[in-house]
Symmetry: C2
Subunit: 342 residues, 2 copies
DNA sequence: TGTTGGCACTCGGCGGCCGGGACTGCTAAG
DNA sequence: CTTAGCAGTCCCGGCCGCCGAGTGCCAACA
């Protein structure tokens, strides 16, 4: 059914189409890839491949282009792993050599290098704070009627916020409030700090009034779903160089989609338990605006802490092997970089 | 030279062109705006206006379109102030009603509402930390071999970073290091903390070695010019709805430009001492890719602290009056919002 | 002198037409 | 099963001519 020669032909078609973006005909295959058979034979094979659903014709008397299924077969069975070129690898390594201490900048940089090396649009979902556990919080008086609330998770994230102090609060009381909070909350998943729990705390401690309220408000904000995945985009302009987006309307629908963080985050989230790189092709992505696109995504980690997802979005006609290689290289470098710096 | 009727004609042409994006002819003016004269008269006036440099012709036997100079005259002399519609005002007020404590989110939200109400691309340069003065820094031990460095400016920004502690450091020493730093640095402009000064401090205090080094590295990062203006973009897709960007090449050059933060920041930075809203038209912006665009920008403040710039980028053919109105409304709301919440 | 109607002219855009080129599918022969 | 040949299909790009919008100019008029 899918003999060796058919595979070869399919592979040839996909690789040529990826390179040229033009429907590919039997003659082209026979010329560029010497399979030792004539165009006529290729034609027969192509006809079979179309019947099997691996190829489709934009219109009669044009060449064939791969279908979603064709691409799927290619990435699953035909594609051979390909390491990143040494230049690219150098480029990537260099990016992560600089000590970057702020997560925010690190993610931004990663988005940039990912889109630059793949020439596609990169999407990265930032640190998923709710996956971390609460470790400790501190209240540090600043002088005047201010204090800063420092919030620490066991993965080493630190956030802060300035609070207004009610006049009468003493250092000791400040200490007490943070002690209570710490005892109650230590070790809990941030996402599991339910509003109910917080409210009961609030009742218990309401003698500290406004101060506590602010601290709790801050905590609540940590759990806001809206805050859950902050997305970083890079290289949206690369889309403009792809011939499939020469049409302004397609472009618009795609770019508009990219502004909807929630949808993009969902797309990135699929196969979240799979190890390594995962690939979604065309209609496999359950988003209408992305039917002409593929998404290659991977989970990245810092240390052994799950952090987030990164991915690229591009036309189905992308160099899957290279993209996967780049992605592996980047996740690897990311881990090493954070091991050095934390 | 520029009599009353010429002004009226120019105004009519600009307003029609803004609405339709089509070159406008004498007949149209005579029909839509009843100036009480015949098309022939208008033709003469238009011919004069062209000679004076306020109009230009895309080609013979097409209508006229305003030149940069024409727009300039319009915004300087003809345009009448226009308040935002009450719906829009409500929308804006609602956006800023929510308590937003993180500057980052506040700026993001502002970019969103600005682009949504103007239907143009919004650019905001974030808090200019270097304009703030150093107030205080704290070193708070976290247990284990970590401490968190808290850095406070007199405008109330707080940043933090986790530092690795050399083993032998005691609480007392920690206190000493921060005391020294505080005494040396208090009240100085962040930007004026020169590398030389930092290095001399470093020599003086090198017995604290690695700890101090990290603290100083953090400080140096604060002054990095690259960090100077973090830019927030909103609504880039609105460009796609403008007929002047139906051409993919124009679009590409524009969107590519928008990825260069430094250039965009420079554009935003002009007229930085002017109060209120400033308008740049076409070639007045010294950027080739923006010759078909106009930029409307304003300084926004939190309290009486200068914070940054915001602006919109759109085709020269934009509704200047409305955009200016929206911008005023947003800056006003921004101030009020921060007065409530800080 | 300023305004107006009339008229010839210009030019871009659009639709229709045509020919070339690149395919395919079929058939018949090797 | 493979291959050459051939007829048929369809897209695409170039060409042409028409249409309409708009101008510029001129002559007439207040």
């Amino acid at each position: 059914m899918m003999d060796d020669r058919k595979s070869k032909v399919l592979q040839a078609i996909i690789e040529d189409y990826v390179a040229t973006a033009e429907p590919v005909g039997s003659r082209t295959i026979a010329r560029k890839f010497n399979l030792g058979v004539s165009p006529a034979t290729i034609r027969n094979e192509m006809s079979d491949l179309e019947e099997l659903g691996y190829l489709e014709q934009p219109h009669t008397s044009a060449g064939r282009i791969p279908s979603d299924r064709g691409y799927r077969y290619y990435v699953d069975c035909l594609m051979q792993q390909r390491d990143v070129s040494s230049q690219e690898n150098d480029l990537i390594r260099k990016t992560f050599e600089r000590k970057v201490r702020e997560i925010d900048t690190l993610v931004r940089e990663t988005a940039r290098i990912l889109s630059d090396t793949t020439h596609l649009t990169a999407v990265i979902s930032g640190p998923q704070k709710e996956k971390a556990s609460f470790k400790e919080m501190r209240l540090v008086p600043l002088g005047g009627d201010k204090a800063v609330l420092i919030y620490i998770t066991d993965s080493g994230f630190v956030e802060n916020q300035v609070l207004d102090l009610p006049m009468e609060v003493t250092m000791l009381e400040l200490q007490q409030v943070s002690d209570v909070l710490n005892n109650q909350l230590r070790g809990q998943r941030v996402e599991s700090l339910s509003r109910a729990a917080i409210q009961s705390l609030q009742r218990e401690l309401n003698k500290y009034g406004a101060l506590l309220e602010q601290a709790l408000e801050f905590l609540e904000n940590r759990m806001e779903p809206g805050e859950r995945h902050r997305l970083y985009l890079g290289g949206t302009t690369h889309m403009l160089n792809q011939p499939e987006f020469r049409d302004v309307d397609k472009l618009r629908s795609l770019l508009t989609l990219l502004e909807h963080d929630d949808i993009v985050a969902d797309v990135l989230e699929v196969g979240q338990d799979t190890e390594g790189v995962s690939i979604q092709i065309g209609e496999e992505i359950r988003v209408r605006e992305l039917t002409d696109c593929s998404v290659v995504s991977a989970t990245y980690r810092l240390g052994d802490q799950v952090i987030g997802k990164m991915g690229v979005i591009g036309p189905k006609r992308m160099e899957y092997a290279r993209v996967v290689g780049v992605m592996n290289s980047i996740t690897r470098n990311l881990i090493e970089s954070t091991q050095r710096n934390r």
